[in-house]
Structures are given as structure tokens and as C-alpha cells.
Subunit: 278 residues, 2 copies
């Protein structure tokens, strides 16, 4: 999918919602545990309930890997199911991978060829080598961590980097990551992760990369709001995918968890629609 | 395993060799492809051939994930097989994970509880949250990327961070990572990744963390040498695990690939023994 198609889907659905499939079996409604593939059954119900409100889905790999081979199988089934249900859905592997070129190529093959993900989240620490192999695939995306939503993002991401010793010019690491990575690809194959928990920084990030999509986690449980993300992060073609995980998928605890999730997704999408003035 | 036990194993085997199980099926000798579990069969043969020379094994997850659920199963079987073959082996999941606390906990559970890894490699970009959950397990290790062996390590890792605006005091990001992460744990549950491809930097890193183990990739195909790593990286209790992957596991191309791997591992271990003056 390219950015024009993604923007088209946002306009059509009047939503820039990404549903995070952080599908932790210990939080599932009890009745699901009798199924052979509880994660897949849970995801299927959530996807059915939310697909009219969401333009993207983002399984976080940790929750699948914690279940071993069986979890991996259910991840593959989930990706296939999303594709069948809504061929226009943008599917992001929240993997936060980052490895030397030789190895990064294997990861790219796992996510883009073996499975039909549209995008993978990547950690920038190791530099360009670790991202390049993902950019070799047409219509696929590298989503690079810039400023994450967690409290300890301030340990390194916000530290100042020396740009120029003589003039003492500095810039925060996350900005340096964005500006460097913009040179590795285009706004049609690179997005950046920018957390909703620091909305004023989102406004700065929007200036550094006016045309790139931002994947924004941190709305809901972590404290960010859609209103602030829209205010600070939107560009003239929306340019946002706002992820909500727990506040949608685990909003209901009983057998009606899917209809509760639908309600929550609808609420989020309605609010998003109100900010889409195009 | 704690650092004393690991050091004991190094002394007993007179080796600080880690064999990297970057088991890429496209590079396997042809006869293995008729097996139901070619990766596991390959690993089993390599482990049998090298276990007397190696103190550690390091499967890189990318090569298993690229095969989907089947690859994940073979990873689990590989970890079990290493444990059965040599209960003293130190087993590292080369996963380079890094995610918010909630999610990092799931990864820790996958690697330390579901599978019996001793250690996991972690990317530091997101800060302490992403490492802490791994430090909650007794006798398990977080192996944090500091200065990696790939060419583009210079994109961010070696950039100078501003420590003090007034005095214009700077330090490279990889040093800041080491010095910050040392405060998160001890030399009994944190190691650092420091590549063999920049040996003079290895000497500096040794000064920053005199007591921590360093996991050193980049010997062989990437150009580093054991001699330089030992010269610059060793401390009074060795403090090194030197990883060799392709130069051991893919040294032989035919049916005798395992005996060729044994020869190469033996060669490396013999050289390592010559530097162990204790």
C-alpha cells in the first residue's frame, strides 16, 4: 500500500484508528480459554467488531512469541484473517526489530514475504544497515521509532546530540533519527513512531517531517488523547495512525467483549472524524 | 547462571567461544533439506561438533522467525538440545528486543520461562523500561547493545551526546548507554554488546565497565580478530564471550559440515586458550 491509498482509506472510513492487537491471553474473557486457538479467536472477534472503524491493525509480536510456535501460528492466521475481512486494512508488525543487514533481511522476509504485513516497526539504534533491507520491498513500510510513549524515552531519545562542536549546535536524538532516516527512503516507505504522551513534542516532530505518516501509540491507558494528537500531529493529508490497544480490546471483560470493543472503536473513530476537515 | 559460574566454565573449557546459530536454510548442505526439521538437524550436528570448544550458543531469532511457527518450534528444540548436551552452556537469544514495560515483560517470559535461555540481547533506544522486566529473573541476563559491529553503527551509536552544556562536556552515545545501564543492574545480570570490528573502541569500553562481560560479535566474516578482541577487551576474569557464526557453522558446505565446524571451533578455542593466562 502506498501513502495515497492509505490516505484514501482514511477518508473513506473517516478514521485514522489503528487497533493494537496486544492479545494477552491472561486478560481474555474466561470462555475463550476453551478454544484451541484462543488468541486467534479473540483477534477474530475483535477484527469483526472493529473493522468498519479501523484503517489499521497492529499485532505486537511479544504477545504471540510468549506462546511459542502456537502463538506464531495464530499470528499468521490473524494476518490472513485481517486480509480476508478487509483487503484495505494496513497491517503493522509491532516487532521493534533492528539487526545487521544480513539478519535484517531475514526479518524483512519473515514479515513481508512469509506473512503479508504492510509495515514493521524498527529500532534505529544500529543505523541504516538495519533498516535498508525493509525498504527494498515495494509498497511496504519501515516504521522507525523516534520518540516513544514510555516514561524512559527520556533516558536516551531526548538527549541532545552534538551537531557542530564549534557553534555548539545540538539536537535531540529523536530529531536526529528522524532527519537522518528521512534520507534513507521516502514518505511512501518510511513512517515514524511518535508517542501521544508528549503532545507538544508531536508538534515539533510534525515540523521535522511534514509529509511522513506518524504512528502514534500511547492514547488511552498510557494517558495520551486523540484531541491532542490531532491538534499537534495532523498534516494536510491527515498523516496519522493513532493506535489504541487495551482501551479497545480489553474494555469489556465478559462474553460481550467484542461489542464493547466495537463501541470503543466507534467512539474513537467518531472523534477522529470530527478532526478530519478534508 | 551467574558470572562466577560462567567464568568457571571458561576456565574449565579454556575457551570463551560463543557459536552463533544463524541457521539460514538456504546455506545448508543439500542433504539436510530432506529432513522434516532441517534447522534443528543442522543445529544438532553443529552443537554435537562444537560443544567441547564452546561455552555459549547464540541463535539469532531472525533465522527462525523467517520459517514461521515451524522455525519457532525448531528454536525451542534447539534450546532444549543444548541444555541436554551440555548443562553448563550459556544460551543467548539474539533477539535485540526493546519495548515498553508491559510488552517487554511478555518477551522476558517468552525467553526465560517458556524457553530456557540464559540471556537476551536488547536494544537500549527506549531506555530503562524496556530492560527492567528482564532483570527481574534470577540468574538471567540482559545483553544490551552498546557499540555494534555493523558499518552503520556510526549513524547514531558513536555520535556525541551533550552531558553538560556549560562546560561543553560530551560523550559518545554508546558510552552513555553503558554508563546509564550499569545503574540498572549489576555485572551479574547485565552484559554489553561491543563489536570486534572497532578493536580500539573495545579498549575504551573495557575502561567504562571493567567488570562486565562483553558479548563480542564481528569476528570472521565481518573482519574482527580474536587476537585484537583479547588484547583490548579482556579483564582479569576474562569478561569476554566472542561470537563466531558463519565462519564456523558454514565453513563446510558438504556432508562433513559438522566436522569442518568442529575444526574451526577447535582452532578458535585453541587461540582463545593462549590468551587465558589464568
Amino acid at each position: 500500500m502506498n501513502s495515497k491509498e492509505l490516505y484514501g482509506n482514511i477518508l473513506r472510513k473517516r478514521s485514522f484508528l489503528c487497533v493494537g492487537l496486544d492479545s494477552d491471553p491472561s486478560l481474555f474473557p474466561a470462555h475463550l480459554n476453551s478454544y484451541e486457538n484462543p488468541i486467534f479467536e479473540f483477534n477474530k472477534a475483535i477484527i469483526d467488531a472493529t473493522s468498519q472503524y479501523a484503517v489499521a491493525y497492529k499485532p505486537n509480536l511479544a504477545f504471540y512469541e510468549a506462546e511459542g510456535a502456537k502463538g506464531w501460528e495464530q499470528l499468521e492466521k490473524t494476518v490472513e484473517y485481517i486480509r480476508r475481512k478487509d483487503s484495505s486494512a494496513f497491517i503493522i508488525a509491532d516487532a521493534k526489530r533492528g539487526d545487521i543487514g544480513n539478519t535484517a533481511g531475514r526479518y524483512a522476509s519473515a514479515f513481508f514475504e512469509r506473512m503479508d504485513f504492510d509495515a514493521v516497526t524498527l529500532a534505529p539504534y544500529m543505523g541504516r544497515d538495519s533498516v535498508d533491507p525493509f525498504l527494498k520491498f515495494d509498497n511496504k513500510w519501515a516504521v522507525i521509532l523516534a520518540l516513544t510513549s514510555n516514561p524512559s524515552a527520556t533516558d536516551f531519545e531526548t538527549m541532545n546530540i552534538v551537531l557542530d562542536d564549534i557553534n555548539a549546535a545540538n539536537t535531540p536524538l529523536y530529531r536526529k533519527v528522524i532527519e537522518t532516516a528521512m534520507g534513507w527512503g521516502t514518505s511512501d516507505n518510511i513512517m515514524f513512531v511518535a508517542g501521544a504522551t508528549r503532545p507538544e513534542k508531536l508538534g515539533e516532530i510534525r515540523k521535522y517531517c511534514p509529509n511522513h505518516f506518524l504512528l502514534v501509540p500511547g492514547v488511552g491507558t498510557q494517558g495520551g488523547t486523540i484531541a491532542e494528537v490531532a491538534k499537534y500531529g495532523m498534516n494536510s493529508q491527515c498523516g496519522l495512525l493513532v493506535n489504541i490497544s487495551r482501551n479497545i480490546i480489553f474494555a469489556g471483560k465478559g462474553k460481550d467483549f467484542d461489542s464493547v470493543a466495537a463501541e470503543k472503536a466507534k467512539e474513537a473513530a467518531c472523534e477522529m472524524a470530527s478532526y478530519l476537515n478534508f
